[in-house]
Amino acid sequence: MRIPRATLALLFFFAGTAVFFSVSAPRFATATNVENLMSGFSFVAILAMGQAFPILVRGIDLSIGAIVAVVGMVVFDLTLIFHVPGYLILPMALLTGILAGAVNGMLVVFLRLQPFIATLATLAAYRGLVYSISGRQLVEGLTTTAITDRWIVGIETYYDIGGWTGISQFMQMPWFPLSFFLMLGVFVVLQTVLLATRFGRDLRAVGGNHEAARLAGINTGGIVISAYATSGLCAAIAALIMVARFTTSTEALGTGMELTAIAAAVIGGVSFAGGIGSMFGPVVGAFLLGIVLLGLTLQGVEQFVQQIITGAILLAAVSYDRILVVRRRRRLAADLVAAS
């Protein structure tokens, strides 16, 4: 297995940033901070992995923040108004995410809308839906009622792995949040789907050359819809993690998350050219954004400055990607000449 150069560069940059903050930021290299990183950015990584799917088929999903809110509303209403047991709510929540994503995909495939336009429209529509019909708005008193169903709030559980294994005797270990393991699970499943299954190859083929894929007999419409559905599913998982943490859901849940997720995916080397990237990049990209934000906060850097720095990292990642592309083109031209 050849490790792409871009992946190595990303890991190198990640390690460098971690070292930089460990040295320069107070209390950065502590168990508490690592715990904050894991609990605060695992769901970002999940969103970024989901986002990678539309991008892999040359699309984009701007609506994931709004899907998070829709799923949050469904969970909130089902448990607090209809008192549906948690083990039933979980699959329904995931299904809601998948459906919301599939609608995006269908708009792109059947109405042939630009993905940017289609998901910009659903971003507004889904969010508006939540504001207009959520039980939190319509039923009095619910705003202050906490969700208590163990199946839901249980997602916000921490495991003292250092204590169980005895490592804590030698060094201070963070407690691991369940969301971190959920993230790992999503990673393993999606990475396998993408790299080792027919569906994954078809998906990359559609992203790489849509017409070639169609003429090879691939059901390109189905693939594109599935890609958006996957994004919706990931948004639902992220929504569950967030609702569990806050023990409630609000209409504004997930606002702006799409931008963070897209940034993480792009920093992770998922290319808008389509067909290029894996699940590894978005995960590293999400945690890279995480350590930068946490590190800057610990250094006392203002939030607006943090945003400037985040933007700069995004630009750097994209420029690096471009440089690789241009170099590859040049090399190709040279090879072409050498071959004949």
Partner: protein, 501 residues
Amino acid sequence: MEPVIRGTDLTKVYGNLTALGEATFAVEAGEVRGLVGSNGAGKSTLVKILTGAVTPTLGTVEITGHAAPLGDPRGMILRGVACIYQHSNLAPSMSVLDNIFLGRQPTRGLGLVDTSRMRAEARALLERHQIDLDLDATVSALPTVKQKEVEILKALALDARVIIMDEPTGWLSSVEVAKLHETVRALKKRGVAVIYISHVLDEIFAVCDTVTIMRDGRIISESPVKDVNRSQVVHLMVGEKLARESERAAHEKRHPRGTGEIRLKADKLTKHGVFEDVSFELYAGEILCITGLIGSKRTEMVRTLFGSDRFDAGTLEVDGQAVTFSSPTQAISKGVGFVPEDRHREGLMLDMTMTENLAMATLHRFRRGVILSRRSMVESGRRAIENLSIRPPDGTRPVKLLSGGNQQKVLVGKWMSRTPRIFILDEPTVGVDVGAKAEIYAILRRERDRGAAILVVSSDLEEVATIADRIGVMVAGRLTAMHDGDSAPMDEIVAEIGGAD
């Protein structure tokens, strides 16, 4: 004998345009069928119907006597119809192996791809057809000729009964073409029916058993290759009028060194590692053709003449004055015009109209204060369209809707409106049909007779023989020979191109 594939009364209508009219077409096992016709004759439409990429308005397709589904690419693949398209049909970011099995990778339960089986099958295939390819290489990292091999392998892997090759040799060198033809003959032996589409008639005569000729959306002739000759085929393809024109062109008088005035002089031009010591003179009133294999650095060399790339050593003189162009703008101001090889990527604004494209190089002429005068642009566009006989003569039509030949005429016309003193064209007729070719040649001759110095880079020897006043040969970055066009020994030139001493 039962034909492997048979299309009956195939018709495709787009709005008012009948792209294909009642075409009935059958190919037998082990037959190599040539399919020729001008651009817009309906070849592509016919092929697209056979591959399922397009649904016909009327008609049926049968494969070994059974009705096949229409407009269903997957259904046609499953029935053994494969196509090697003119434009790359690979997923560039994926490996060779994945591309060979695109859309039909073998799986073991759960949809997991069976990589080892895929690899074993691909290896066997490589062995059987003696093709050398790195299965793990990423397609985008392969040179074009290798990418073509991947496409061929993809078709072979289907174990196809019918393989359609749409202009398969467009970007291949002559060695590669010969190799491809061997593959075609091997396929024929194994009983595969091959439909071979090409503008290069030599290839049709070299490899096909029978030839179908199309014109204006209809099949107008079908016969064994041995029963027809070249000029009959050309006549049928282009109709009487254009055939006469192209014949007349072959007997044109040559003007080596034109008026005797040196317009452009290259002396020991060198770009390290690319080309070396290239020296020649280009005279006013002549057409100098530089030929050679793909990769002999002709394109790279002429790009430096236009300031699109830099040369490292040597001198370049225009009208006796030493120049170094650091950008095309400077070259243009000295009266140099350049038609690049890839008209889609480098030459035309595909979504803009013909009028707009034609005016592109001369916008300053239509300026009225700060705005452009629409009317004078349309008027000058109309004149250009007439001069170049672009069809349809509708200036408001987006360029992407024109046939390849007409697109090329727009591109040539764009420069002509500047009346360039030095006109450089890189492969001006690749993918252009016979009729449009003759017209482009006529345009070039007209410019030459007006006194322009014209430099044409071409791999097509037919073209070189038809229009060149002088012929230069480039081999591996060196200009190795220069001949006068009227007395050029073509067989010698062929040997020189191959690098013989």
